[in-house]
Amino acid sequence: MSETWTYILVIAGVILAALTIAAGNIFIERRLLSLWQDRLGPNRVGPFGILQVVADVVKIFTKEDWVPRFADRGIFILSPTIVMITTMIVFAIIPLSPGIVVADLNIGLLFFFGFSSLGAYSLVLAGWSSNNKYALLGAMRGASQMLSYEVFMGLSLMGVVMMTGSFSMVDIVEAQKNTWFIVPQFVGFLIFLIAGLAESHRIPFDIPESESELVAGFHSEYSGMKFGMFFVGEYLGITLISALTATLFLGGWNGPAFLPPIAWLLIKVFGMIAFIILLRAALPRPRYDQLLGFGWKILLPLSLLNLLITGAIILST
Amino acid sequence: MMEQIPVEQSLLLAALLFGIGLVGVLIRKNMILMMMSVEIMLNAAGMAFIIAGSRWAQPDGQVMFIFILTMAAAEVAVGLALILKLFHLQKSIDADEMTQMNDITEASESN
């Protein structure tokens, strides 16, 4: 019985941690952006403005949750939940420390792919159900963007899979005991990072919601809690990509013994989050066709080449 | 815990899905929905393959499923492109309105 309880505890812990980190991201991002942009950022609510997140959440919860009459009500409500669910569920496969993982699936990576591809629906359906021109445009952009970058994401990870010989995340982490995969799979790492950003439609790839051209893209019509779900979902996505990068390329919980494995993982995840926030501060948004052209014309051949060379090296050794 | 595979039930499930897909193909007029129904049937067929593969603990069923998947992907890509083209030409994707390629002409009615 205690095994089951431990299991449930781990699940609850993962969910809580993911949500907390995602919420904390909001604060961290604002502070870091301010830092890099030579300003202060939120610093009034609580120490260092740390309670700003709470204030935001209260604001979101109490706002009028309005569904437009011209919208397709059911799908309009369904869409934000999809992004939450599909992102949250993938955390189940990330090994936190030796022996602690929600689900050690033998198709772990494929599980991630499956749900990340399902994540596209939230965006697409939100845009469609809003019955709004800008929302629809954003949705279509998002659909093509996510559909395309899923391909490179999958291909970029195949090098890791080949070197491990398994889809299981636990196996992958254990295979990095000596060398992190970022060293032999640096190209794969780069592609995965770019594709991951595109999948979570973060700046600079926030084309489905680009405010300056499409008002707010697919979530133009959303407000209140449903907007909050999209909002949190995006930060969950960042967290997920960071966690996956840490797990797949940076050795996961591997690290010197003076810190517990979970601490190493958290350090790596936060490092990745900080890096992604830095990217937001540093890079402009590309044009829509540039994005797709970059994907199909550069990333795809590059990832295939990476795969080919990796395969050749594995075969020769 | 060693479980038994519910072979017959799962095969029946596949057959039922196939039948529903067939109904879908036959009653829908929207071509996209007809194609979706075809996907249902393909999926059911693939499922039957996997059931057989699992029954004998062989990978062949899944291999066949992968081939069916590939085929479905290619079919959908081309099919949807055709439907888009058709929509541009006809401003409709109602299968019942696309009967221009019939062979019932005035001449054949007379004889």
């Binding site: 659909a143 | 095969l11 057959a15 109904v23 036959l26 996209i32 069923g61 998947l69 055709l82």
Partner: protein, 173 residues
Amino acid sequence: MLIAFYIAGVIAVVSTIMAVTRSNAVHALLYLIVSFLAAAVVLFVLGAHFAAALEVIVYAGAIMVLFVFVIMMLNIGGETEKAKERWLVPKRWIGPALMAAILFAILSYAILNQPVATASLSIVEPKTVGISLYTQYLLGVEIAAVMLMAGIIGAFHLGYTKRKSKHRFLKGE
């Protein structure tokens, strides 16, 4: 696990029926995605984990997104509402349903009349599938690759329209 199988099976059947009968294309599509997810669960239960993952990734994740994409492009979601009355009359569906019922009956007869010795569940590893794909079925993989290529080229060709520049500054591009 068997409970999961039955639940998923019922969900699959119900959502497929809904997918077939919805007049709104996007609703039908959503039901279909649910049906595929349920089918993926069924496959997972049957021990074909790899196929289950592919079902989600490719069928539910990629192919269906294409459908949504096209539906969105053509904006036909509400258009079929008008035709609802027309096609839901029994005259329309009773014949096909009868035909499908006969087919199902024949298939059921064929399934239930064969002596199927039940076997214990054994998970077929993705690795086994991969090895089988690249040894025994190598030719099939090649052919499938060629077919995909043909599909890509065909779709590209069908979708390609010569870009017309409206503005004189863009004529040269």
